[in-house]
């Protein structure tokens, strides 16, 4: 049996800030959901089912908060699913929602991902000491910095490459009014002079901690064809996971990421990602992950990723722009960040990206998220044209 076609027919996003004290959790998710519904030309009663995603519940201190959010999200009387796949969750939530449409189970699905990190402290929320396990009181940066050092050692990349990404993504965020960080004076010197957190990551090489939510309305082919506004067709989607504790893992260039991209490109007919995509929104929470994921996602040969970054290929005027919205380095409500990537990719192919719209040639964009210890991956390809 062939899958039904699915398209993004509405996108909504909150302003991301370090603390959204003006809204409750319910107010935060509604801000994104209402915008997505309005964009889709729909109301709450048009929605058949909801898929809600967020990262660990300890970030807010509520177990399964979607139960309490059911009323605010208009879910009463409908099916609601809660997804949690660590940092990749925003992406995998969108994929679970799209599968409901592709399977022909529902025609209009509202998917929402959020994090209200100001309710707690995310770095320490990630680092609870557990019985039976070695304590890793390090936060995400402490976990990933050694992997970045290994990448530098493998690739011979010069030490300033990460800082280039930090500047590029913050400059991009200046064109995005919803981005959390707006640093108009950002330059290489400012990044280099920011204090060292985890060698080689300086303060400005890392993502902020944000409150924010992202929402999308996904529709069937019938719904998308009837849509008044532009839609983003789903051309492919893929999930891959690998275990944490396995000595055979390459944590710098994970096989799960490579397999996920390969599966995705096969579905979407992508043979040369650098040429076949107009742009990509990729989960880069620490600056060095841009060159690392350029290689993992097949945009270049192994060891060459930093050269693309250095040459400006991933800049807004480069041949393959990455993270035009400012990326995770400019806004990071963790549970939503993956869906922000997926949704920003959709906005590009809908020509709805405002001041950071890229020129469309192939009309295809990549959305990417990863999580855990570089072990959970979710990706999709969206396009302006209906898949054949």
């Amino acid at each position: 049996m062939a899958a039904e076609r699915c398209a993004v027919v509405g996108v909504g996003q909150t302003r991301h800030r370090s603390a959204r004290k003006d809204v409750s959790m319910a107010g935060l998710v509604r801000e994104a959901a209402v915008e997505a519904l309005e964009d889709a030309g729909m109301t709450w009663s048009d929605i058949d089912a909801l898929v809600v995603g967020k990262a660990p519940d300890m970030f807010e201190g509520i177990a399964m908060p979607e139960l309490y959010l059911a009323d605010a999200l208009g879910a009463v009387g409908k099916p609601m699913i809660r997804v949690h796949t660590a940092g990749s969750v925003g992406g995998s939530t969108a994929i679970v929602a799209a599968k409901l449409v592709e399977a022909g189970v529902h025609e209009r699905v509202l998917t929402v991902a959020f994090e209200k990190q100001s309710e707690s402290n995310a770095t320490w929320g990630l680092s609870v000491p557990m019985p039976f396990a070695p304590p890793l009181v390090a936060g995400a940066g402490g976990y990933f910095a050694p992997l970045i050092r290994a990448y530098i050692s493998r690739s011979g990349a010069p030490r300033h490459i990460g800082h280039l990404v930090a500047v590029k993504d913050r400059r991009a965020a200046l064109r995005n009014p919803k981005a959390h960080l707006h640093l108009p004076d950002i330059d290489l010197k400012m990044v280099e002079e920011s204090f060292l957190l985890w060698d080689p990551l300086r303060y400005l090489d890392t993502c902020p901690s944000s409150d924010g939510a992202m929402a999308m309305v996904l529709g069937s082919e019938r719904v998308a064809d009837a849509s008044a506004g532009p839609v983003a067709w789903v051309h492919g989607m893929a999930l891959r996971s690998e275990p944490t504790m396995f000595a055979g893992r390459d944590q710098i260039n994970p096989q799960a990421g490579r397999d996920c991209a390969q599966d995705l490109y096969r579905q979407a007919g992508i043979t040369d990602p650098r040429r076949d995509f107009d742009c990509a929104e990729v989960y880069v929470p620490f600056s060095w992950y841009e060159p690392m994921w350029l290689e993992n996602l097949g945009f270049c040969e192994l060891g060459e990723g930093w050269k693309l970054t250095e040459a400006g290929a991933t800049g807004p005027d480069g041949d393959i722009p990455w993270n035009m919205s400012g990326g995770v380095l400019s806004s990071n409500p963790i549970g939503a960040s993956g869906m922000v990537r997926f949704g920003e990719a959709a906005q590009q192919v809908r020509r709805r990206a405002g001041d950071y719209q890229v020129e469309l040639k192939t009309g295809k964009a990549l959305g990417h998220a990863y999580g855990g210890g570089s072990q959970f991956f979710s990706m999709w390809v969206v396009g302006s044209d209906k898949p054949q």
Binding site: A3, M58, L69, D71, G77, K99, A103, Q375
Partner: protein, 350 residues
């Protein structure tokens, strides 16, 4: 829709196991379910699990849980922060698309790591309900009282549910509570939280369950009598207890109708009732009559490994269909305070 069946099921539970972590608890269950499925581990198309971080007291209960699966080479995998019955729903959807033909579904949780009745209260809305911190038993007692007043049922009806469940549990290998107890004997026990006595309340336990799903011809080739999923649906109700009629379960009724429960007789029903009073509310919602055998495993009163217990209901019904003891059965799973969210799955043999 594509024909999808439960072809293998395994579960385990102990009252508490301080010496095993979640991965050690989960590994034998997954190996049993996959080993008995007739499908090689590396051939399984999709994997989906259900767990709750707040039970572990850490941020990523499912991450290490994945270590029990053998996720190498990397696998297609996802996770719900809910009972694994919802993971089974997600897997059923994935198989419908046709990209994969089989799935491993598992759920696990260690209630012994905390006072689970209190920890589950972390599900309440943080502004109005959570500050009052009523335990699971407190709100179940309110619900039971509400049900008694609207239905005319009594504590004796609850004790009858408990007596039958505990007796049935004697043949369930992973049961925590199993014994012969007359209704009179049970009614002689003191109240825990009026109108609930100890026998009306599930006992905390540590446990895990796993199910293997397969589509069409693959299911027929590896299983003599697959338990086909003929309907599956789930619905959610408002969160606040004060805006719901707690004496009925409208979401269960709705889900049962949409899953086609009433289209034919139901030989066996496994209802995820964590309190004896909930079984009666669920029976009313589904319309179970005297011809249906309810909770032959003893149900959640026999063993309620939270985050696996809903999936166990589906596995128990499937097991009886595969064994030829039943032709058509209904499984129910619940989530949230006072059964806020409910899932119904109708299974049939061929």
């Amino acid at each position: 829709m594509r024909d999808v069946a439960v072809i293998s099921f395994a579960a385990s539970a102990v009252e508490r196991d301080d010496l095993q972590n979640e991965v050690e608890m989960l590994t034998p269950v997954i190996h049993e379910a996959v080993g008995n499925s007739g499908i090689e581990r590396t051939e399984i198309g999709f994997t989906c699990s259900g767990s709750l971080d707040y039970m572990q007291g850490g941020p990523f209960a499912f991450v290490l849980g994945l270590d029990a699966v053998g996720a190498w080479p990397p696998i297609r995998e996802s996770h719900v922060e809910a009972d694994a019955a919802w993971a089974l729903y997600e897997a059923w959807v994935a198989i419908q698309i046709g990209e994969v033909d089989s799935a491993l579904v598992y759920g696990f949780g260690k209630s012994s790591s905390s006072d689970i009745y209190e920890v589950m209260s972390m599900q309440y809305d943080p502004y109005y309900m959570l500050p009052l911190w009523p335990s699971m038993i407190d709100v179940a007692a309110l619900q039971a009282r509400d049900y008694m007043e609207s239905s005319g049922r009594t504590e004796r009806d609850f004790a009858e549910v408990a007596s039958r469940s505990l007796g049935n549990a004697k043949s369930t290998p992973y049961a925590i509570s199993a014994r012969d107890a007359s209704v009179e004997e049970l009614l002689g026990a003191p109240m825990v939280n009026d109108p609930l006595r100890a026998h009306d309340i599930f006992k905390p336990c540590d446990g895990a369950a796993a199910v293997v799903l397969a589509a069409g011809d693959l299911a027929r080739s590896v299983c003599a009598r697959p338990a086909w999923i003929r309907g599956i649906d789930h619905r959610i109700e408002p969160h606040a207890l004060g805006v719901r009629d707690l004496s009925i379960s409208v979401s269960t009724k709705d889900a049962a109708q949409r899953a086609g429960a009433g289209k034919d007789k139901i030989d066996v029903a496994e209802l995820h009732a964590q309190f004896s009073s909930e079984e009666l509310i669920l029976r009313d919602a589904i319309g179970v009559n005297g011809n249906t055998r309810v909770n032959p495993s003893g149900g959640a009163l026999a063993a309620n490994p939270i985050m696996a217990a809903g999936l166990i209901r589906i596995g128990e019904v499937a097991k009886r269909i595969t064994a030829g003891e039943a032709d058509r059965g209904l499984a129910h799973a619940t989530s949230g305070p006072c059964m806020q969210q409910n899932l119904v799955c109708v299974l049939e043999g061929e």
